[in-house]
């Protein structure tokens, strides 16, 4: 799983049931600090769907869209376990590295 895919997954998890194109984009732009294009979101989304880490569901019709449904994304169990694996590796990798090591050298 690539980095952008991982971040998108995490964003979806944070959004807890309200994850669709626009919200995912806002969330990502929020915690990464730069604007994401839709293209940069859809591509990882499709890949994640192909891999089975994310599934699409249709919400109930919604008035703002003139009666159309929204397409909501959810992280699947496989997705969650994949994320967890990455997190574990991350922890083990960072283990022992002091925060102080990142302060500027004297």
């Amino acid at each position: 799983m690539s980095r952008s895919e991982e971040i998108v997954l995490l964003a979806i998890m944070k959004l807890e049931g309200n994850a669709y194109g626009v919200t995912i984009r806002e969330e990502l732009s929020g915690f990464t600090g730069h604007e994401w294009t839709f293209g940069a979101i859809y591509v990882p989304l499709d890949k994640l769907t192909q891999k089975g880490y994310v599934k699409k569901t249709l919400s109930d019709p919604v008035p703002e869209k003139g009666g159309r449904s929204k397409c909501l994304y959810e992280v699947t169990r496989d997705g969650k376990s994949a994320l967890k694996t990455i997190r574990d590796v991350q922890d083990r990798a960072w283990d022992g590295i002091q925060k102080a090591a990142f302060d500027s050298e004297t």
Binding site: Y20, G21, V22, R25, T37, F38, G39, A40, Y42, V43, D46, K47, E64, K65, R68, S69, K70, C71
Partner: protein, 871 residues
């Protein structure tokens, strides 16, 4: 609150639509719209529109990347499937690929051949403005088309017609010995030309001045290779080359080698002024000398218009002469780009063969593609079950089609790679075959890469479309029930395809047989003389002829030398023609005759018989008024008693007034023989004893000890002609040279036919095995019922022989007609007889039998129990 609809930029939106799959389309567009609306409200419409457009632009590369990625994954998938299936059916795969590879090889070779043939003379900068003068002379029924004009014609036309800027004449030099600093070489490609040649044609100068190189007599321009040959690394300009130990020529220019794709090629170009200085009248007077003449027009003028300006000038100036002799003279123009392809050579122009070979190569490719279609369909039918399952599992028709197409394109690609390899390997052999060095062909890099790709796709899609569309039509239920009507329903189509293949093959077989017959006929035709064991030596300078009698007397002492003679020309080379006034013809009715100058030993040397009268005397002076003619002359002139009849000629005179012509008398008649080769009818022949015109020594030697005789002759030659290289040819080789073209064509047809048959057989073979498999149950049951192997073989073969017979019936009538048309090009032709047709027929059936028979036999030998059990 209902928002007022604000419209996002339409064009960008439209672009977006193409990037999303159907299922995502609406939702994603909505995402864009949502943000757009928000931005419209917060930051205004123009900001929002800008944002929208920017988004789309930024997103495009990402989308593209992803679709490519997806397609790539799909491709890999297809590829693996194809690979797996190929392994499972190795036999079919091999047949398919080899057939297709051969077809593509033919196509590639054809392209190369066409490209080279069509590129002749294209390198000249003025190519649209250069024309060759063509003279058409008619005397009654006899029409002669000459690609030469009289010497002053060029001057006449360029003086009188403003559109004609320049002209150039080319005079050919017969074989010449050229020497420099002790090394001698016999050169055959020396021409004379006016200096204007460099203004008209494009020959790149390496050193020397094109404006003046050939303006003085005895100057010469040579090619790079020639310069190297004589001078090595020394500067050739200013050096002198010696011709025939006699004349000296100064080298005034070096040009780049004349490209291979030129209609005439030379090694040295001497100045035309040389000819003028040697014999002014011959060059400047009408009716004396003829040269190939080319003109340069001042712009891209219409051919007919230019010709219409030329004819009046011709009429005014010298057509009168012809009219007074009872004939007409017309002058036509041949554009440069038509010279190579459209000049008849032995009656046929090259363009005819280009068409023929193109058609054949395309046909072979067609056969290969048909094979492919046939075999693929058969193969897929046996995978019907797999297809059914796929469909049930949700494969759409589109997906299946894509898969089959990918399959065939992949096959096509492998075949193409194979074809390229084959072409590379065989390019040497093929160059020899067609007489043109293919390896020097420069190919535009673009074409080199693009061409094969296009061909691969084209073949893949064409050949694959039939199975793709046909098979994806299967209905799963029918498939599972084992009810695949595929076998029966496309039976007709498959038969049609086999018929097409064999039609082409039969046509080729028949053509090859006829070509073979015609050549054999020509080569074995009674020639009227004996061409075996006759050596031909060229003596090119007049001085050396003085030593000839001594040479002749000396070598006749050797028992291996049977006979020695000298003449102006030798059978197999085109003789000169002239007009004469034979007895019995009115003054303005001159007759054309071929000319042969020779001595009394000529007939003995070539085993030609005197049928009437006597031979020349030994003493040349006694023969001053004597001529010998051939039987055709006697027949054409209607002479009952030819001896003593006179023929008037203008030799030594310069008048076309036949009243002033002098007579000579016929003293003997010889049997007809093919002086001019087998592609021309035998002309009346005028034979005269004028040693001043001799150029060739003929020596009949005994068939034994040939190499010793040659050594002997060489030593004697070097004694008597010390300055000349001893070079000889055998008459039968010279004579057979006229068949070079036809030999080549025969070979090419032979190979083409072989290829076509091979491919068609491959196809049959594959089909037969498929049919055998399908019918294995039926065969098993029949065997059990008591059918013999012979019965079964027959049963299977008959299915295929029937379409082949239909092919034969379709193709033989037009093939016979076309062959007859081709034969009309020959003065002497063989007959198309029933034997040839029958042979073709039988051969085809035999081939079919062999191709099918193997499968049939194998099928009939399988244990019937095995077949029935498989149910």
């Amino acid at each position: 609150m209902k928002k007022t609809p604000l419209y996002p930029p339409g064009f960008s939106r439209w672009i977006l639509k193409h990037f999303f799959r159907k299922e995502d389309l609406l939702y994603r567009l909505d995402d864009f719209d949502e943000v757009y609306d928000e931005l419209c409200q917060k930051k205004g419409i123009s900001y929002a529109k800008r944002w929208y457009r920017l988004q789309v632009i930024k997103s495009i590369p990402q989308f593209l990347n992803f679709s490519l990625f997806r397609s790539f994954a799909m491709l890999k998938n297809y590829f693996l499937i194809v690979l797996r299936n190929s392994k499972k059916q190795k036999g079919y795969t091999f047949i398919n690929i080899s057939g297709l590879a051969i077809g593509m090889t033919c196509f590639i070779l054809l392209s190369i051949y066409l490209k080279s043939e069509l590129s002749y003379d294209a390198y000249h900068n003025n190519r649209d403005k250069i024309y060759r003068l063509v003279s058409k002379i008619t005397f009654g029924d006899d029409v002669q088309t000459l690609y030469e004009s009289m010497s002053p014609t060029g001057d006449l036309l360029s003086d009188n017609i403003p559109e004609i800027l320049k002209f150039v004449r080319f005079g050919q030099v017969s074989r010449t010995q050229v020497s420099y600093n002790g090394s001698h070489f016999l050169e055959e490609k020396i021409f004379y030309s006016d200096n204007s040649v460099f203004d008209i044609f494009t020959f790149e100068f390496i050193s020397g001045n094109p404006k003046t190189a050939l303006s003085k007599p005895y100057t010469i321009v040579i090619t790079e290779n020639t310069a190297k040959k004589y001078f090595g690394n020394k500067t050739p300009i200013g050096e002198r080359l010696i011709f025939n130990n006699d004349k000296e020529y100064t080298v005034t220019g070096i040009i780049k080698n004349v490209p291979q794709n030129s209609h005439f090629v030379f090694d040295m170009l001497g100045s035309f002024e040389t000819l003028r200085s040697e014999d002014k009248e011959s060059v400047e007077q009408w009716g004396r000398s003829w040269f190939p003449t080319y003109i340069l027009s001042n712009r891209n003028i219409n051919l007919k218009i230019l010709e219409s300006k030329i004819q009046p000038v011709i009429d005014k100036n010298f057509a009168e002469t012809y009219k007074s002799m009872g004939g007409t003279f017309e002058c036509f123009l041949q554009p440069l780009d038509r010279i190579y392809l459209y000049t008849p050579n032995n009656g046929v122009s090259r363009i005819v063969y280009i068409y023929i070979f193109s058609i054949i190569a395309l046909f072979i490719l067609l056969i290969a593609c048909i094979n492919f279609m046939n075999l693929s369909t058969a193969r897929y039918s046996s995978r019907a079950r797999e297809i059914g399952i796929r469909k049930v599992a949700g494969a759409t028709r589109a997906k299946l089609i894509k898969q089959f197409l990918a399959d065939s394109i992949l096959f096509s690609l492998v075949s193409m790679i194979l074809a390229i390899i084959i072409v590379k390997i065989s390019s040497n052999q093929i160059s020899l075959l067609i007489g043109y060095d293919l390896r020097t062909e420069y190919f535009n890099k673009f074409i080199l890469i693009f061409g094969p790709i296009v061909l691969t796709l084209f073949v893949g899609i064409c050949a694959g479309s039939y199975p793709a569309f046909f098979l994806s039509n299967f209905q799963p239920v029918k498939v599972f029930k084992g009810n695949i009507a595929a076998g029966a329903s496309n039976h007709k189509l498959r038969n049609f395809l086999v018929i097409t293949q064999f039609t082409i093959s039969i046509a080729l077989i028949f053509s090859t047989i006829i070509i073979f017959k015609q050549l054999k006929f020509l080569k074995h035709k009674e020639l009227g003389f004996n061409k075996e064991h006759v050596m031909v030596l060229n003596v090119t300078d007049k001085n050396s002829w003085k030593s000839y009698p001594a040479f002749k007397n000396e070598i006749l002492n050797n028992i291996n030398i049977r006979s020695v003679s000298a003449s102006s020309t030798v059978p197999g080379q085109t003789p000169s023609n002239n007009v004469y006034l034979p007895e019995g013809f009115p003054n303005n009715n001159t007759q054309q005759m071929s000319i042969l100058y020779t001595d009394k030993d000529f007939f003995k040397t070539l085993d030609i018989n005197l049928t009437d009268g006597r031979n020349f005397s030994e003493n040349t002076e006694a023969n001053v008024k004597s001529i010998i003619v051939n039987e055709t002359a006697v027949k054409n002139f209607g002479w009952k008693n030819p001896l003593g009849k006179f023929i008037k000629d203008d030799k030594g005179l310069r008048t076309s007034n036949t009243n002033e012509w002098k007579s000579k008398n016929v003293i003997g008649v010889i049997n007809d023989f093919f002086l001019a080769g087998l592609f021309n009818t035998i002309n009346p022949l005028y034979i005269y004893n004028d040693p001043g015109e001799f150029e060739i020594i003929l020596i009949r030697i005994s068939p034994e000890n040939i190499s010793r005789t040659i050594d002997y002759l060489e030593s004697k030659w070097n004694e008597i002609f010390p300055q000349k290289t001893f070079e000889y040819l055998f008459l039968d080789n010279i004579f057979n040279k006229q068949f070079i073209n036809e030999d080549r064509i025969q070979k090419i047809f032979f190979y083409f036919t072989g290829l076509a048959i091979f491919i068609a057989c491959l196809g049959l073979f594959g089909l037969a095995s498929y049919t055998a498999e399908k019918k294995s149950k039926e065969i098993g049951i029949r065997k059990v019922m008591g059918a013999s192997i012979k019965n079964i073989v027959f049963m299977l073969s008959w299915k295929f022989i029937k379409p082949v017979m239909v092919s034969a019936l379709i193709v033989l009538p037009p093939a016979v007609y076309l062959a007859a048309r081709w034969l009309t090009n020959f003065a002497y032709k063989t007959q198309i007889d029933v034997n040839s047709i029958l042979f073709t027929f039988v051969l085809t059936i035999l081939i079919t039998f062999l191709a099918v028979g193997y499968q049939a036999v194998r099928a009939s030998l399988t244990n019937p129990i095995k077949c029935i059990k498989s149910e």
